[in-house]
């Protein structure tokens, strides 16, 4: 479980997150909406542990451990992973090697077969992110998460810029990563399937396309560094498109 309590964050001397409270239980996936510059990426980077996002108040707990000031790699080892919106290029490091790094250099992870799942075999011998197109970056990030297989996955606009053919691939891959693809069987009821889910997800989206491939448990809107929430991400999406962010935030605040 991820628990964020009264989190306040500064970036370059400016407060960008104000009193954030958020709880993601095992098996849950939350959707994060919000206008450009509202602080969505900042929230994910803070959870991942990027030191330039300075926590000035509140705390973050994951799996019962206070991780507020934990280094990035220890958070990764504890089971947090992120698919970035704009990852850096690493010259001279092949994507294949990166996949192995993500897998903690375990022998049982085969970069080829993982890459096949996201239609990315042809990129294994290219330097990580070097000249990748927008859509290719998304698949590269998913490939890395497939290898890493963390328990809490932070997706920063995973479907932005992905073409119509690959969007289904991206959507179903995320659903798979988050154990959302399993449907009830003769043996297991929907309730059981749900209970056995352990993976947690936090997905930033502007369009909500991702909702066509998985059901999310909760939607949240980040506006001016303040988080407000509603139960159903589809309702939020509709509200935003009809009335805009500001109205949407006001109405959810009022109903809370």
């Amino acid at each position: 479980m991820l628990v964020i309590e009264d989190l306040q964050v500064e970036l370059a001397g400016k407060q960008i997150l104000k009193h954030i409270d958020l709880e993601i239980k095992p098996g849950e996936t939350h959707i994060l909406f919000g206008p450009n510059g509202s602080g969505k990426t900042s929230l994910l980077m803070t959870i991942m542990g990027y030191p330039q996002y300075k926590v000035t108040g509140g705390k973050i707990t994951f799996k019962g451990v206070d991780i507020t000031h934990m280094p990035i790699n220890e958070r990764a080892q504890l089971g947090i992973g992120m698919a970035y919106q704009r990852p850096p290029t690493i010259h001279g490091l092949k994507t294949r090697q990166m996949v192995k790094i993500c897998a903690g250099n375990r022998d049982d992870v085969d970069p080829e077969s993982l890459a096949r799942q996201v239609n990315f075999e042809d990129f294994l011998d290219r330097d990580v992110n070097a000249g990748f197109s927008g859509g290719e970056i998304k698949r590269s990030e998913l490939l890395q998460l497939l290898a890493q297989n963390p328990d809490l996955m932070l997706f920063d606009e995973p479907e932005s810029g992905v073409d119509l053919e690959n969007i289904a691939l991206v959507g179903t891959t995320i659903a798979k990563l988050l154990q959302k693809e399993c449907s009830p069987t003769d043996l297991k009821s929907m309730l059981q399937v749900k209970r056995e889910r352990t993976k947690m997800g936090l997905i930033i989206t502007h369009t909500g396309h991702i909702l066509e491939y998985l059901t999310a448990d909760k939607g949240q809107v980040l506006y001016n560094g303040v988080l407000s929430c509603a139960d159903n991400p589809r309702d939020i999406l509709q509200c935003i498109s009809e009335m805009g962010y500001e109205e949407c935030v006001r109405c959810t605040l009022a109903s809370n």
Binding site: M48, G49, Y50, P51, P71, I72, N73, R75, A76, Q77, G81, M82, Y84, P87, P88, I90, H91, G92, L93, M98, I101, C102, G104, D127, Q144, Q148
Partner: protein, 408 residues
């Protein structure tokens, strides 16, 4: 043709002439007298003491000679091993060549001027030895030829002259390592090299330097590439030296001649490197590329590059990237000189530190900070060199891998 006397005379006049660039050396500090070492055969090579073996291996020498087409090893001033396994390829000590073969005079001091500076002069006045490696017309080297200039005697000044000839349509790959014995502290290495790449020939020359802390190194090399020829020149130096200065020059004198230089230098504290590459593009269709990767670990590195386009329809690119890891200085000096319309020349130079963002990215994939830095450094140093045989790429990768420990 000059007579030997004329050469000596010119050398004598230049014997105190400082180099155009780089710290000046007082050559009177070193011993130049020949040092006797007896010849060792293949089996003896295999049973060298482990420490010496290791020094050779680090300089890219395969002492089993299995994946090599020929071997030349010079210890101090003496040739201790010289053989060749492949038809069409010759490996001859230069002193022997000068005594026995007339053709050598078509090459000896033909590209490098004997009176360039006191270092070239010394190589003529007190020539110890060196190698002549030649691929006959049409010969293709199956395995690379290896050459090693090894220094064992403390305070020696090793004077070497090498000549490499790739005759028409031949293909020749050479790996040459320079190294010192574990106990060697101080010394100087002066090495003249002249490269002749003839019509449609292909020559790759990979040099790995493994010197010691108090060594002064002054290579002087010039290459000439004829029509359709390719000269690939790789240089790797990961170990400390006191000072190293070289500015190898290549003349692309035939149409469609190509030269590509790759160098990887790690500058340790107390070391001073002034290294560059200069390529003259003299005929249409000529192509040149210089790629340099330097890391300063507290040392001083001057990374030069100079491309000169003299005719239209040439293409040249220079890429010089430096990373300052633990202090030190990297001074990149890229120069482009176009002498006419229709040249296409560009350069890219950058000196900096490792981006924090890249370290964090790798850490978020589970690596510790140190491992993340090491991974980025390894990536920075890894250059893909098209056309290099796999054995030689492996040697370069190994040298880079080996240096990780020193860099971190």
């Amino acid at each position: 043709m000059y007579t030997r006397e004329q050469l000596k005379e010119r050398a004598l006049k230049a014997k105190d002439k400082p180099a155009a660039i780089g710290p000046d050396l007082d050559l009177s500090r070193y011993d130049k007298a020949p040092v006797e070492h007896r010849y060792i055969d293949h089996d003896e090579l295999l049973s060298l003491p482990p420490l010496e073996k290791e020094r050779l291996v680090m300089a890219g020498i395969d002492i089993t000679e299995k994946e090599r087409g020929g071997t030349y090893i010079q210890k101090d001033t003496a040739v201790v091993h010289c053989d060749v396994k492949q038809d069409g390829i010759e490996v001859i000590p230069i002193k022997k060549a000068l005594e026995k073969y007339d053709w050598i005079w078509d090459y000896y001091w033909k590209l490098v001027a004997v009176d360039t500076d006191k270092y070239t002069a010394a190589a003529e006045l007190d020539l110890h030895d060196g190698y002549v490696i030649r691929a006959l017309p049409g010969a293709k080297s199956v395995y690379p030829i290896q050459a090693c200039l090894y220094m064992d005697k403390n305070n020696l000044q090793q004077n070497v002259h090498n000549i490499i000839i790739a005759e028409e349509d031949s293909e020749l790959h050479i790996i040459t390592g320079c190294s010192t014995s574990p106990h060697m502290k101080r010394g100087a290495h002066l090495g003249v090299s002249e490269f002749f790449v003839k019509k449609n020939a292909k020559l790759s020359f990979t040099m790995i330097h493994n010197w010691a802390e108090d060594m002064d190194i002054r290579p002087r090399s010039v290459a000439q590439v004829e029509e359709g020829g390719l000269f690939l020149n790789n240089y790797i130096c990961m170990k400390p030296v006191r000072s190293l200065q070289m500015y190898p020059t290549t003349h692309l004198v035939g149409e469609n001649a190509v030269a590509r230089f790759y160098s990887i230098i790690v500058g340790s504290p107390g070391s001073e490197y002034d290294v560059g590459g200069r390529i003259y593009l003299k005929k249409p269709g000529a192509r040149a590329e210089i790629v340099a990767r330097t890391i300063s670990n507290g040392g001083k590195i001057v990374a030069r590059g100079h491309l000169i386009g003299e005719v239209p329809d040439i293409k040249a690119h220079l890429e010089c990237k430096g990373l300052i890891l633990n202090g030190g200085i990297i001074h990149a000096i890229p120069e482009l000189e176009g002498h006419t319309d229709g040249v296409e020349m560009s350069h890219e130079a950058a000196v900096g530190k490792i981006a924090q963002e890249e370290i964090a990215y790798l850490m978020s994939r589970g690596l510790s900070e140190d491992d993340a830095v090491a991974t980025i450094v390894r990536g920075f140093l890894s250059v893909d060199i098209p056309g290099l045989p796999p054995q030689l790429q492996a040697e370069i990768d190994r040298a880079v891998e080996e240096s990780d420990k020193d860099v971190m």
